[in-house]
Symmetry: C2
Subunit: 357 residues, 2 copies
DNA sequence: CCGTGTTACTGTATCGATCCAGAAGACTGA
DNA sequence: TCAGTCTTCTGGATCGATACAGTAACACGG
């Protein structure tokens, strides 16, 4: 039988409490006895206090749950997510805390809810889930600390970390407009509800289920409106996921049917890189024939010469972890807005003059 | 106060067991009563059975622990690890199981042990830890299922998944020898014991603390010995970590002091890609001036034209998860050796004739 | 020698569920 | 009709620890 505290206590003729204290509160017993206890434990093959039992009694688990928007298996291949996780992990390391990845992806709603309910964690980091995802109710029901990363919802108790997406997008939009672009298309992704990549009509940014996409599109809308380009004049394509391949597929639809836009904005870099792929396939020169703007400034963006909005996913992860593991007292401090800036690279340039090509 | 099973039971005038059954064993009570219980629970804001309490009673936690060799924060940036994790996550998803990342990196030995002891998991996947890592004893003491990925140790109970590293390396070594290479150097990494990247002398492969490095070097040794190249004729450089940058640094040491090798083999692709970087910096042509072989065939290897040994990290992760979550009956089936094959690309070519350059 | 502390350890209640033996009632078949 | 089975629900034991109040022993100042 697996040895327990009691086993060790009996062997030594001391009380269970004393053995427990030997592990968790060394100041509660003499150094000699403690040594004797630990030695006996070693001899009996007692691996130390049972983590689950300890968690139950203590009321804390030493782990935080991470809810990812995509399949864990996909998330790992997305550089932005990887950076975010890397920051989160750094924070967890500092607090000697584990990271429990909750695989929500393939699961139906019911399973997703159960997974959230069953997660032994002290708090949740919700990363990029679409609004209204079934698991969100389950998360709230747990009444644990929650930090939303790159997303906001109507939960007044949830903490937040992210950037001012709308403001950043406004800057990017102004940049485009300043270059003379008027025929502009936008690419975003829609949750994997089986919806195919394709052109869509969009009454307004509010129709998008992802907070960051929504805000970013809102920023573009405002900036372009200021330049005299109305919402109705924009073209849209919805990708099936936030991946490069789907970005390329979405771009293809925009490029292959007239009127061809002079600029394409994507709500993140992966989609934008896909756009560049689609341009390359067609022999179109980014920044000359068609301007492209991404968002996030993942490492590949620099290599590809992609104009984008730079902010630090890693820092965001770090802050998210900090908020969960060491929540600041003030309510205001639980809402962290990180800086972001437009990085102009070769993928944007003056709009080609009408009929020049 | 947070509602418990009892709260719901009292409200409804039924027993605690019945409420429990409503959640966990629907066949044990009538559909109507179950609906009433769930409805009451919803009304009271009861989030479902407490995961920790349930785990304690049931004896299972619904999560598996992952011990990574590097800082979690670094691991996420290594493509091979990412692929492995992606496979592991896929397996976890299928079994509705969480993945608990145990951040061992920055921690001193004592902390590492505590983290392992405190992890609420049903099993451990040990991935690429160096032999003798302190946490390994702690893992064994837990007496949980263990699967070693890409590593073997002397624990007879541990399961295994990996490839036949030595055989694969032998094939690669034969390839090099067949191309006429005789002045050959090898690059590997040493655990982050503060040891700097630098040239080292190595009595034999056995001195390496990483199983896979050891085996791979062993394979090269055998193949080269067969071609008449003795161990003493080989040059070595130890990198501080398995990263591209450290690979480049290690390669620099080999390239900048005569006699310059005609071929450099690295125990993984990241180091090898670093070697290519170092070559590029010096205007040396891989496959002409210097041949380079990696190991793993990460996606970047194809782009870089790197000759390497292909095997699937993703599949390995998947198998590791399967072994943990659904252990096969037979002892033999708990030792899975996946296929691997040499992929010859542009980075290897005939050895330059002496003094040709 | 008493009162007050301090140190070192014990014992019981408790964390929040699940398990399992068993009871009560309904149903079945001969 | 009555034993036997099924369905539905109950109650107590239990998982393995920690918290906290309490006790005994010893020290120390006055």
């Amino acid at each position: 039988m697996r040895p327990t505290l009691q086993t060790v206590a009996d062997e030594l003729g001391v009380s269970r409490s004393t053995v427990s204290n030997a592990y968790s509160r060394p100041d509660q017993l003499s150094a000699e006895l403690r040594e004797k206890v630990l030695e006996t434990a070693r001899r009996l093959g007692y691996p130390g206090p049972h983590p689950t039992a300890r968690s139950l009694r203590r009321g804390t688990t030493g782990a935080i749950g991470v809810l990812l928007n995509a399949a864990v298996s996909v998330a790992f291949t997305d550089p932005y997510t990887v950076q975010f996780m890397s920051g989160l992990a750094a924070a967890a390391e500092r607090h000697e805390t584990g990271l429990l990845l909750v695989p929500l992806s393939g699961s139906d709603d019911e399973t997703a809810v159960r997974l959230v309910q069953d997660a032994s964690v002290d708090g949740f980091c919700v990363y990029g889930l679409p609004d209204g995802h079934r698991s969100l109710d389950a998360v709230r029901a747990r009444r644990l600390p929650i930090v939303n990363a790159d997303r906001r919802d109507d939960d007044p108790d949830a903490m937040f970390v992210g950037i001012d997406d709308a403001a950043a997008a406004r800057t990017a939009g102004a940049h485009l407009a300043g270059l003379g672009h008027r025929r502009i298309a936008a690419i975003f992704a829609l949750p994997a509800s089986g919806r195919p990549t394709g052109p869509v009509s969009l009454a307004g940014p509010d129709d998008l289920p992802y907070h960051f996409s929504r805000e970013r599109l809102r920023g573009y809308r405002d900036a372009l409106a200021e330049a005299g380009v109305g919402w109705a004049e924009l073209a849209f394509a919805g990708a099936a996921s936030y991946t490069r391949a789907d970005g390329a597929a979405a771009a293809a639809l925009l490029l292959d049917r007239p009127p061809r836009p002079t600029a394409i904005v994507a709500v993140n870099d992966m989609l934008a890189l896909g756009v560049l792929d689609a341009l390359a396939e067609r022999g179109l020169r980014p920044g000359h024939d068609i301007s492209v703007i991404g968002f996030d400034d993942v490492p590949e963006a620099a290599t590809a010469g992609l104009t984008t909005v730079r902010h630090s996913a890693r820092e965001m992860g770090r802050v998210a972890g900090g908020l969960l593991l060491d929540p600041p007292a003030g309510r205001a401090a639980r809402d962290v807005v990180l800086p972001a800036e437009l990085v102009v690279r070769a993928s944007t340039g003056p709009a080609p003059t009408e009929g020049a090509r």
